[in-house]
Symmetry: C2
Subunit: 546 residues, 2 copies
């Protein structure tokens, strides 16, 4: 089988490790072991396509820059995955072509169309099935590529960095007995909570897709409890194909939660979880010691704007600009929907920069610049940014918060509806329904977030809190990835909860035992009392009889 | 009323703020607000006497050094509290003298004596009562000192830093409506978990004084569940006097948990909790977003040894030294007990440095140096340190771990017995019973930890993990204290769990409602079935009758 080496053709860089750890070790031996200087390792990266790539790529690049040997394994065909400056890529063949991916993107764009319920549900299920099938095919193409897996095994990596939302990397880490570092926002049906043994009481931790905040009415709490009761079933359904594939690959029956929590068959090392959120967006909830919060990791990478874009932005005067994207999976929207946006933009004084790859109509307003790719974060960081129209993906929302730009949000699918409700609950953004949207409602929403000072002020405070952290999220992610590589896992952060079944975890056996004990003692005491009573009665009867 | 100003006589230092935050703020405005440079505030510190002072003092000093105005309020008489280089102290009069404190220390030393059970229990209770009375008297002397409280109110502090184990500072913060920063290892009866709404399942989070690890047998789990059921009662009993005093001072009925979780009457800001542990000592368990781990905060402060001590240490040759202290509250031990130690030390080749203020016998072995005060951390950091004999206080244990020195542990009271069991479970120390100790058993224990390489190796690994952190604990503590000052609290980290009662928190109302709903639906369905059945039966009977 042929492998094409993208990027620097397996050029492992052995440059000196220049990381800036703040370590104070006593002896030289410890220093070397713990990587304060000079220590480098080997990292395997198994990324997921789409927006997940943004954060993983940033860490892979930084790890490479610091002198580690970083190998990124990606399919030959993908939407966003690709080579980097500081890491090596290795591709594997997949039995589909670019056209399938383009079709998937086109299908995603359909989400903005309003369909009748009877049509929408089968369409969504069919889309979901196609998506899962594509992911599973990709995973199989890697895992059952014996030559590639053997090659990876021989490399003796120190750890695997991966997105567990599609758990190819996690399954591979488990098989190669390597400690895993996961980067994620969260997993469907709270699989992340199950795999980390992290408590999340349904009384104040809202479940995905419920659109609730952490302050729920009684009715909302009922829904939340019901959803959390259904989650194990949903999990089984969602990951049925993947668990099947994992069992075939590993040649043993395994649950995905076991794979995720363990990190490796023999290690029992406990993986490290880099969570792409913080509590400016998320509602405060319990955490586990092996969770590291890196919300806003994508906000640091900044580049100057091109001259052309800079001129367009500067030309907006005091009115400033509006930035508009619908995420990496949707590049174009249906023509009739696009017309609504064009109409709205012709009615506002701001200039608009729009990531748009669809058919360009003749009557594009002069204040609108259409671009095939948008330097989103750099534009939001520009002092002239006034509002951000977004679909509500986590990356975009954190870029909005980090740069302090109020948002108009048009959620499409996945966790986006929850994200936008969290943002709206902070008073820093307005939600619009993409199916109901009109030019007037969009103009209204834009005017609200731009001219109502409450949005800007609240966003300023939120942004200040988000940015006020002792260490940048990228440095933190890199630090803990290196930690796992140095110490072959993070065993000391693995809770003993993993060794208990759910019955023991909730102390149900102990409670049962104690209830039985109380019951037996009570019964024994009642029996004693009854005996005493009978004896007394008999004596009294005898006395009477005498 | 007279106040004596210890230290620099109310000299507020306005030196430029030279903190080294790794912040990358977008605009100058945000930078100023968030204190990246130049920003200074006013911090009130209400410390607790004894070993708690170590960590609080380190933060107060560092805050002062960074240009903040730090005022430490302490009683006129104390065991360890005193002035510092970078903060101002203000003393308040107390109705007891140095002799009462000396008596308390002498009583603590008695803990090393073996007493019969019938004598031990009343002695312990009497000691505890004296301790609580002293603490309450000190708290009352501050809180009911109207002049002092008025003065503090006028200062417009940004936050209060305090040890909540004696909640004087917390009550004062609540009264002054200031956000609070707490520094603690843990509170009796898990009051810290209650006040932070932090889940700690009794199935794998061992309770204090049970001596269990996180991997418990069924019997140990039964004990753990029973202890956690008793905790609310224990809490009520332990803090009854203090809650009473707080209610009198605040002129309203308050629970201590409410005071601790709120931080201030009107703010509802949620306090920040600096926890003096990490997971090299503690067993992994859930955390809350407003908990910051600063275990080992006292390990950073290092000074060179005096010439005399250095010569003594260097003279130990390859055998090295043993460091021996029983903590700040016990300076001397009974003569007959001391003789056991002297005898043991005469039998080992190492040199011993012993913090000892008791009567010095004639036959002190040549390899023993008695010192009234011991630079414990500097000695443990010396390459010649071979073993550490300790009572198992948290500070000492972290100094042992940080410097990688195996331990022989003699727990006396408080959380020490739990601490030493945690250390022993890591295979880096040996526990001895101070009541049963003989010269032979001590020599055996010392030889084990010094010559059995397993102890040294495991300690080396544990030390490497403990020291491998992205930021030093002192910097982290200072950072988050400043965060609370900058943002007037840490509202975004306050879980909504605080707004629920325990019934709602555990979703018992929802579960009850759902059970009722299921019951009603089932009954209704049964009723329907019964009706249908009856109708069918009647029809059949009619047919038969026809």
């Amino acid at each position: 089988m042929m492998f094409r080496h993208k990027g620097t053709n397996m050029r492992w860089t052995f440059a000196a490790f220049m990381g800036h750890f703040i370590l104070a070790f006593a002896s030289l031996e410890e220093t070397t072991q713990s990587g304060a200087s000079g220590w480098t390792g080997k990292l395997l990266v198994v990324p997921m396509d789409g927006s997940h790539w943004t954060g993983v790529k940033a860490v892979a690049e930084e790890m490479g820059r610091r002198g580690h040997q970083v190998l990124v394994v990606i399919p030959e065909v993908s939407v966003r995955l690709g080579p980097g400056k500081h890491f090596t890529t290795r591709t594997f063949p997949v039995p589909y072509g670019q056209e399938e991916l383009d079709e998937l993107q086109a299908r995603n764009a359909e989400a903005s169309k309003r369909l009748p319920l009877l049509e929408r549900i089968p369409t969504r299920i069919s889309n979901m099935k196609k998506f899962v099938k594509l992911q599973t095919t990709t995973a199989e193409s890697l895992l059952f590529n014996q030559e590639l897996v053997d090659y990876l095994r021989k490399q003796n990596f120190d750890a695997v960095l991966t997105s567990p939302a599609v758990p190819t990397g996690a399954i591979l880490a488990y098989n190669l007995s390597l400690p895993a570092v996961y980067m994620l926002r969260g997993l469907p049906c709270r699989l992340d909570s199950t795999a980390t043994a992290c408590p999340d009481p349904p009384s104040y931790v809202p479940r995905f897709f419920t659109k609730s905040t952490d302050r729920m009415s009684f009715g909302e709490r009922v829904v939340n409890v019901l959803v959390s009761c259904l989650e194990p079933v949903l999990c089984k359904l969602s990951y049925w194909t993947v668990e099947n594939m994992a069992s075939r690959f590993l040649q043993r029956d395994v649950s995905l939660a076991d794979i995720l929590r363990t990190g490796a068959i023999w290690l029992m090392s406990g993986a490290l979880w880099l969570m792409r959120y913080d509590f400016t967006l998320e509602f405060p909830k319990p955490l586990m010691p092996n969770m590291v919060l890196i919300g806003g990791i994508n906000c640091e990478v900044r580049n100057p704007l091109t001259k052309e874009v800079e001129e367009f932005v500067e030309g907006s005067g005091d009115h400033g600009i509006v930035v508009f994207t619908l995420g990496s999976l949707i590049a174009s929207i249906p023509k009739e929907k696009a017309e609504v946006f064009f109409k709205a933009f012709s009615m506002i004084p701001q200039r608009v920069l729009w990531r748009y790859t669809g058919e360009i109509p003749e009557n594009v307003p002069k204040n609108v610049k259409l671009m095939k790719w948008l330097p989103q974060n750099d534009l939001l960081g520009h002092p002239k940014a006034r509002a951000f129209i977004t679909h509500g993906g986590t990356h975009g929302i954190y870029e909005g918060i980090c740069n302090g730009v109020p948002m108009v949000m048009l959620p499409l699918f996945g966790d986006q509806s929850d994200n936008v409700h969290r943002v709206a609950s902070r008073g820093v953004g307005v939600i619009l329904d993409i199916h109901e949207i009109t030019a007037e409602s969009l103009v209204d929403a834009l005017n609200t977030v731009i001219t109502n000072s409450s949005y800007k002020e609240k966003m300023k405070k939120l942004s200040a809190i988000h940015n006020d952290r002792p260490m940048q999220p990228l440095d933190l992610a890199v630090y803990w990835t290196e930690f796992v590589m140095r110490h072959k896992g993070a065993d000391h952060l693995r809770p003993a909860a993993h060794d208990l079944n759910w019955f023991q975890y909730h102390s149900l056996d102990v409670i049962g035992f104690l209830l039985c004990a109380v019951l037996i003692v009570t019964l024994a005491m009642l029996k004693c009392c009854a005996l005493c009573w009978r004896k007394c009665c008999r004596k009294a009867q005898k006395r009477k009889a005498e």
